[in-house]
Amino acid sequence: MSERILMKGNEAIAEAAVRGGCRYFFGYPITPQNEIPEYMAKRLPEVGGAFIQAESEVAAINMVYGAAGAGGRAMTSSSSPGISLKQEGISYIAGAELPCVIVNMVRSGPGLGGIQPSQGDYFQSVKGGGHGDYRMLVYGPSSIQEAVNIIYKAFDKADEYRIPVMILGDGVLGQMMEPVALPDAIDVSALPKKEWATDGTKSGAERRIINSLYIEADVLEGMNNKFKALYEKLKAETAHETYLADDAEIILTAFGITARIAKSAVDLLREQCVKAGLIRPITLYPFPSDVYAKYAAKKNVKKFVTLELNLGQMVEDVRLAVNGKKPVEFYGRSGGNIMTPEEVVREILKRI
């Protein structure tokens, strides 16, 4: 780790990706993530990598598909409408068992929506935004340092599971500046060889094919079951944080930037002698269901309140995890508006 420097979220994420071994970036501009491709355009040639501004989002994700298939550490980033356009390619990448990293700096929707922050793409990210039965490893970092640490390891995780990894941020995370310590760059030449990669005929290896087409139902079901086992194994990556939750009577729960607002609200509520706590999922898929189940079973916990910058998406996963043991309520803002800690406090006081 180096000395702390002040960096914008988008730039810090791009630099940490390069240090984590990213060598191929394919993108198409959209606010509020433009600093990522801008940074990569300058930075990747310095480390012998390649940056391409594609002619569209669809082209960009298919370039990721190609580069990942050839064994490269490939990445793309976009924001909500752009990520929607990439969904077909993401499904193909998942189906072809390829590793890649995708950053979504979410803006408000639906449609072209607005350019202000939102968490409206939760469902799209964790339930499979493209077609077919696939999942991604999805992270919802709530600070720039956490986003840096996650993307630095994301390429390793993608390679280990041969799965697309998504970092679900938002406009605040991308545009904000915070002090950050960047990890040292890895040595990409020391990475293990990918025995499945279609990296040309020079190695004299047997013919390799990367594909997601399985016409025979039994063969495809075999693949589906293989994915099922993989997603089961992926549960080892589940991560969360709790804050003052152990004696809490009311548990706030939120991810990403909203979790920071919730944390402030917990402090303010504690000052008013309200026993509030926080559960913050760090991985959104796999979802830390066991943690919710554990707290739902505790006598001191009266209710859960899910806070999101959307009309209520993660709250469904919280309800599944709490499984009717305690009430699960919801408070959200949308359209690009962001709740303040004081607003959350007012909302919680109404509910106790």
Binding site: L6, T31, P32, G171, V172, M176, E178, I261, P341
Partner: protein, 176 residues
């Protein structure tokens, strides 16, 4: 210690960079800080603002509802945020541009002719650094010399502008 600051003005007045000066100053003083710009379909001459939270511990929310300090560089920004400032908070007003006095009596109002003072230092463009000096003097949040060191670091690629900015900082500091 947690200090919440909103800085607002016209695009081009150095609102965002004033915020960055403070963010760097905080970081070099080993404090935690978040700098959050307003972003949107902004244009030259439109309004811009940024929110800074400076703290001894990890900053929870980067968003500010009730700032401890408002730095208003133009009238629309003052009007937009003045009622949010917490009771007993500080409002620094660029009186080169804002001619009215504020009605609130429960905040500490500081009127600063930032443009004229910056002109004395050499350029009206340094008005934001004048305000920085005034803020550092008023808030006593950072040692003066540390912030001067920060200014020199930030402009290290343009060393010819450092003396003028240090002068602007000193004049702003002395105005309090």
């Amino acid at each position: 210690m947690t200090e919440k600051i909103i800085i607002a003005g016209f695009g081009g007045q150095g609102v965002l960079s004033l915020g960055q000066f403070l963010a760097y100053s905080a970081m070099y003083e080993n404090k935690e800080v978040t700098w959050l710009p307003s972003y949107g379909p902004e244009m030259r001459g439109g309004t811009a603002n940024c929110s800074l939270v400076i703290s001894d511990k990890a900053v929870a929310s980067p968003l500010i509802e009730t700032p401890d300090c408002l730095i208003a560089l133009n009238k629309p920004s003052l009007d937009k945020f003045i009622n949010n400032v917490k009771v007993g908070g500080t409002v620094i007003i660029n009186s080169s541009i804002i001619k009215e006095k504020i009605e609130r009596t429960d905040v500490n109002a500081i009127y600063l002719e930032a443009n004229e003072i910056a002109q004395k230092a050499g350029s009206v463009k340094a008005a934001n650094v004048v305000v920085l000096g005034a803020y550092v003097a008023a808030s006593k949040l950072f040692p003066k010399e540390s912030v001067k060191g920060t200014i020199a670091k930030i402009f290290k690629k343009k060393p010819n502008v450092i003396p003028m900015n240090l002068e602007a900082f000193e004049l702003g500091y002395a105005a309090i």
